[in-house]
């Protein structure tokens, strides 16, 4: 077993410092060291997308990184999406209005993927939305309402 290593990360704007084993997955670090359990774990081999977070703005799989690698980086998770406690972001609202979640387990990863996608593609077509979602598996919804929600959020964001 190797020695613990210090990690300092900013998560949703708050700086956290911990000492962890190098093998600790970033997903486990966020969930069990920092208690940010909104990020979910579905496969631990990078396929399902439930654990998607944003690392310096880019969506990545938190199950395919070691926590020690996040040292000095800025992470955004689902807990940071809402503008204030008790309120939802435009994207989150659109997911509720379009019934884009059922069990809700895949939802945090999808929100993190889509939040980045809409920054790059503010006026997407349905086809573009479907491509953007294709790296996040959902077993409940059949995706249709998720696609609707993303298009709805895009429209609302454009219309301000």
């Amino acid at each position: 077993m190797s020695a613990r290593v210090a990690v300092t990360v900013s998560v949703n704007g708050t700086t956290h410092r911990r000492e962890v084993e190098p093998r600790l997955l970033l997903s486990d670090f966020l969930r069990h060291e920092l208690g940010l359990t909104g990020t979910h774990v579905g496969c631990e081999h990078g396929v399902c997308g439930a654990c998607t977070i944003r690392l310096d703005g880019a969506p990545v799989r938190s199950c395919l990184m070691f926590a020690v690698q996040a040292d000095g980086h800025a992470i955004a998770t689902v807990e940071g999406l809402a503008p204030a406690p008790g309120r939802l972001s435009v994207l989150q609202e659109a997911f509720r209005d379009a019934h884009a979640l059922q069990c809700g387990y895949c939802t945090p990863g999808i929100l993190m993927t889509v939040s980045a996608f809409l920054e790059e593609t503010p006026d997407p077509t349905e086809e573009e939305v479907r491509h953007a979602l294709s790296g996040n598996l959902c077993r409940c919804t059949g995706y249709q309402h998720i696609v609707d929600a993303v298009l709805l959020a895009a429209r609302r964001l454009r219309e301000g």
């Binding site: 077993m1 290593v5 190098p22 631990e44 081999h45 690392l55 969506p59 070691f66 690698q69 993927t113």
Partner: protein
């Protein structure tokens, strides 16, 4: 699915990384984007004793054209960056076309071209693209540096010409001549999956529309990325008419050696090799004109 313990080093220079690799040899693995290695570690299929993390070693992520017009891509350049890089898109558009088929944006945001190639999965798209482009790889170690052509780099499934102390440091892609068209096409079960068959095609035409040079390489087609030199040779001198393409596709079917998977029988893969090669050649021809 938690990785076994390992000793972790994140050297701040390429030289320090090479020294660590030289010291630990096969016990150590370089950690690039981690998008293949970390899943294997989570499954405990891979249990390296030492990880040499290259993410803090500067100088490995550049994408630039050199004086001869060749495109040089640092091994740690993230796939998403290569996909969007204006220089790369201009000089070798097949890179972005093929990278688009590599997993999903979340994976490409982290994964690197060097990591992908050093992993040497014969199902992966990029090794085949490297063969088709005539890529040369810069391998570095404390002993020095050497350049290895792509066709000598891939030795078998997950096996390469890299020595235990060597790092794949840079990918060098010669410039494409004028009137060259490229195409990468694949058939996969789902978007982002490894292909059941993928074909990279590069054709160069003369002013009369006659093919002066062709390269074809396939992924998921054998123990390594599989070039189809006979098919390519058959095209040279032709006008890439439908009959020429059909003839080349038939040769591609013979030149591949697919191993089958849970998704596709070898017979179906061989059939696909012809189908996809023909489609890729048509597209490359149209782009060359």
């Amino acid at each position: 699915m938690k990785p076994a313990p390992f000793e972790w080093h994140a050297p701040d220079s390429v030289e320090a990384a090479l020294a660590l690799k030289a010291a630990h040899g096969d016990d150590a693995r370089f950690l690039a984007g981690g998008q293949s290695l970390v899943p294997a570690m989570n499954f405990r299929i891979a249990q390296p004793a030492v990880l040499v993390d290259l993410n803090r070693a500067p100088g490995l992520g550049t994408i630039a054209q050199d004086a001869e017009g060749a495109l040089r891509i640092g091994a740690m350049a993230r796939n998403a960056r290569i996909e969007r890089d204006a220089t790369a898109r201009g000089s070798h558009p097949i890179l972005a076309e093929a990278l688009h088929e590599v997993a999903h944006p979340q994976i490409r945001n982290r994964g690197t071209l060097g990591g992908n190639l050093a992993h040497a999965d014969p199902a992966s798209e990029m090794p085949a693209v490297m063969l088709a482009l005539g890529a040369r790889f810069l391998l570095r170690s404390l002993r020095g540096a050497r350049e290895v052509p792509a066709e000598e780099f891939f030795l078998g499934p997950l096996a390469t010409a890299l020595g235990p102390d060597e790092m794949l440091a840079e990918i060098r892609l010669p410039p494409l001549p004028p009137r060259t068209g490229t195409a990468f096409l694949e058939v996969a079960r789902r978007r982002g999956d490894y292909a059941m068959m993928g074909v990279a095609a590069v054709v160069t035409l003369d002013a009369d529309g006659r093919c002066t040079h062709a390269r074809i390489a396939c992924c998921s087609a054998g123990p390594t990325p599989m070039a189809a030199p006979l098919a390519a040779a058959a095209l040279e001198g032709s006008r890439l008419e439908e009959a020429d393409i059909a003839g080349a596709a038939a040769l591609v079917r013979q030149e591949v050696d697919p191993m089958g998977s849970v998704h596709a029988s070898p017979a179906y893969q061989r059939h696909l090799a012809g189908v996809v090669a023909a489609r890729a050649l048509r597209l490359a021809k149209a782009r060359a004109a």
